[in-house]
């Protein structure tokens, strides 16, 4: 069973007073590698520094976006803008690398060309965003970026790829590229732009959902827009959980709320009654208030994404997100 949120990792996140940024001029970076090889490694992962850092980061951003709309005023630093521009650049490539017409099993093989271009250019793109003192981190950061958009062989995308992008953002905080004042914009500008690109890739190249639980999933591809999105709506006077299934609500408010943008997208791509094709989300619409939705989704994320070997076996560990045992691990999320 999932643990309660009160057993969350010690400290709000990677740049809390307890965690000073890593000095990139003295730190030894390393290329992230797979370190989880079997289900027996999952308990060690749950007690690791990487687990604490990622979960702490997700919870920190969760706090930062409570009751905030995407169009609200919050700091948008030059680095945030450059990250959004980088995602804009990746988006442009879709026009330059259109889907190919030949018969194929399912996913469009043109995705492999888009992915190859990303692998080729990612380090250069990151060097354009980061000050020179951070360039020693680029090789390590680049791996998380290339893992964020799906698997090139299988032409699929899932919550593990979403987690890789979060790992990238977390690492940027750990080395001091992003700071506490960036937290709202990390979620509501950068992650929002990332989602827009991920959805476009999924649809353009007809990517398979990777490891979806089908009707037992919250969604076939994404989880965090619903988790953070429920924080955005926490005390909204008019939009209650029961409202989000209504087309006039999600159509009108999707541009300001990650949760509603997620619902709008699902309704565009799935056919049939919502209660049938998205039963888990339909169940969420029956929860009394957004506070309960938010704590419930955090528990669910810990149990269904972070604790599941089929997803977490693909996570890559470098020098910033490590399998070393954490000093004050939170309780494991499932027995």
């Amino acid at each position: 069973m999932a643990d309660s949120v009160s057993a969350a990792p010690d400290g709000p996140g990677p740049t809390s007073p307890k965690h000073k940024p890593i000095d990139p001029t003295t730190h030894t970076f390393s290329r992230p590698q797979k370190q989880i090889s079997g289900p027996d490694d999952v308990p060690a992962w749950e007690k690791s520094e990487a687990y604490q850092d990622l979960l702490g980061f997700i919870l920190t951003l969760n706090e930062a976006v409570k009751d905030k709309k995407i169009s609200d005023n919050y700091p948008v630093s030059p680095v945030i803008q450059k990250l959004v521009e980088m995602l804009d650049e990746l988006d442009k490539w879709l026009e330059e690398i259109p889907p190919i017409e030949q018969p194929q099993r399912f996913g469009n093989k043109a995705f492999r060309d888009w992915y190859a271009r990303l692998t080729e250019r990612v380090e250069e793109l990151l060097k354009n965003i980061l000050d020179e003192k951070f360039h020693s981190a680029v090789e390590e950061l680049a791996v998380y970026v290339t893992e964020s958009f799906g698997n090139s062989t299988r032409i699929d995308y899932g919550t593990g790829h979403e987690l890789a992008f979060v790992a990238f953002l977390c690492c940027l905080c750990k080395i001091g590229v992003l700071t506490e004042e960036d937290y709202p914009a990390i979620c509501l500008k950068v992650f929002d732009r990332y989602l827009y690109l991920a959805r476009k890739l999924q649809m353009t190249y007809r990517m398979e959902p990777a490891g979806s639980h089908g009707v037992w999933s919250l969604d076939d591809y994404q989880f965090l827009p619903f988790l953070w999105g429920s924080a955005q709506l926490l005390n909204h006077k008019r939009i209650l959980p029961k409202s989000f299934v209504k087309p006039d609500i999600f159509e009108h408010f999707a541009k300001d709320y990650l949760f509603l943008a997620g619902i709008k997208h699902i309704n565009q791509v799935k056919t049939g009654p919502f209660a049938e094709h998205s039963n888990q989300l339909w169940n969420v619409s029956g929860v009394a208030n957004w506070g309960k939705v938010n704590t419930g989704l955090i528990k669910m994320y810990r149990a269904e994404v972070l604790a599941k070997f089929p997803i977490i076996q693909h996570f890559l560990f470098g020098s910033l997100l490590t399998m070393k045992p954490a000093e004050n691990p939170s309780s494991p999320s499932s027995s």
């Binding site: 289900p39 639980h213 693909h314």
Partner: protein
């Protein structure tokens, strides 16, 4: 019509009528009780334990791919392919997970197997394992429908007994996933000790998890289990074992079925509009007495009102 088929000894113990009643009920998407599932699973193990790792099947037979709990689409498959046992069937695994009706689908297929053991063949897929079906929905569905995991435990024991591969008239090799670098011949497969939870690596794992790919040779699979194998591997395997082609499933196909490796391998997928999202057609492969292959494509079954999803789920455990 039913009386022309001989009873197995298992049926003689419990009564053919009872089994047929269960089949009829499951065809209406009504699940069995836990006690009935126990009887069914015990009978199934008695039959399956005697089956080879390479189950030999005579044509005519209709070969089917993944179902994944999509009960209404399985019923559509029977309408299109013919009702069992009038049509012989060979299913290539992945009966459970992801859909709403894993319980009813697996119960129905196992009941059909027990009632018509020579007309129905059910192979093991990578989802017919404890590790996978605990994550991807079957376990959760059993908890919702029965309030405890016993039915899941009973079926996962039956999964251990399912043969891993089938062979139609010695020429069409059927399995869920694909080939293995540890296996050159069908005799290698026959030698495997299969009655266990599927290992997380090795030849049995490969048979359930591997995928053909547009390449040569072998690579580890990006799935994290099994291998990718190239056209040269398929050609060599088919040549060595005197096969016409390999029929497998395991991957969704937009048009229901897809040949690859110069027609050495065909992927067939039998869950249409997979997960309500993929918009794919499904297909089944009909092999006639002369070993001619015909594919039939079909789409998701039209739903009557109130069909498609269970009427109520208990409160979600996270909220």
């Amino acid at each position: 019509m039913a009386s022309s088929y001989p009873m197995t000894s298992a049926e003689q113990k419990a009564g053919r009528g009872e089994l047929e009643g269960w089949i009829e009920q499951l065809m209406e998407c009504q699940k069995l009780t836990e006690a009935q599932v126990k009887v069914l699973c015990d009978k199934a193990k008695e039959i399956l334990v005697n089956e080879s790792n390479v189950r030999e099947v005579r044509s005519p037979v209709t070969v089917c791919g993944d179902i994944h709990g999509q009960m209404y689409d399985l019923l559509e498959l029977f309408r299109i392919g013919g009702q069992p046992p009038d049509t012989n069937y060979l299913f290539m695994g992945d009966y459970v997970d992801r859909g709403y009706y894993s319980v009813e689908v697996i119960s129905l297929l196992v009941a059909l197997k027990v009632r018509y053991p020579d007309r129905v063949t059910i192979l093991r897929g990578n989802h017919e394992t404890r590790m996978t079906s605990q994550v991807y929905g079957f376990y959760d569905e059993v908890m919702c429908k029965y309030g405890n995991p016993n039915v899941w435990k009973m079926f996962t024991e039956v999964f251990d007994y399912l043969p891993v591969t089938g062979l139609v008239d010695g020429k069409v090799f059927c399995l869920h996933g694909g080939l293995s670098p540890s296996i050159d011949s069908l005799d290698h497969i026959r030698a495997i000790d299969r009655i266990q939870e599927a290992p997380i690596e090795g030849p049995m794992n490969d048979l359930l998890w591997s995928d053909p790919e547009d390449m040569m040779g072998w690579r580890p699979s990006p799935r994290g289990a099994g291998h990718l194998f190239g056209a040269d591997i398929s050609e060599a395997f088919n040549h060595t074992n005197n096969l016409s082609f390999v029929a497998r499933a395991h991957q969704p196909v937009h048009d229901g079925y897809q040949w690859c490796h110069n027609k050495q391998v065909v992927t067939t997928f039998s869950a249409p509009n997979y997960m309500y999202r993929l918009g794919n057609s499904a297909a089944i492969l009909q092999i006639d007495e002369a070993m001619h292959s015909t594919f039939i494509r079909f789409d998701a079954a039209p739903r009557k009102p109130n069909e498609g999803r269970p009427h109520s789920f208990p409160d979600h455990m996270y909220f």
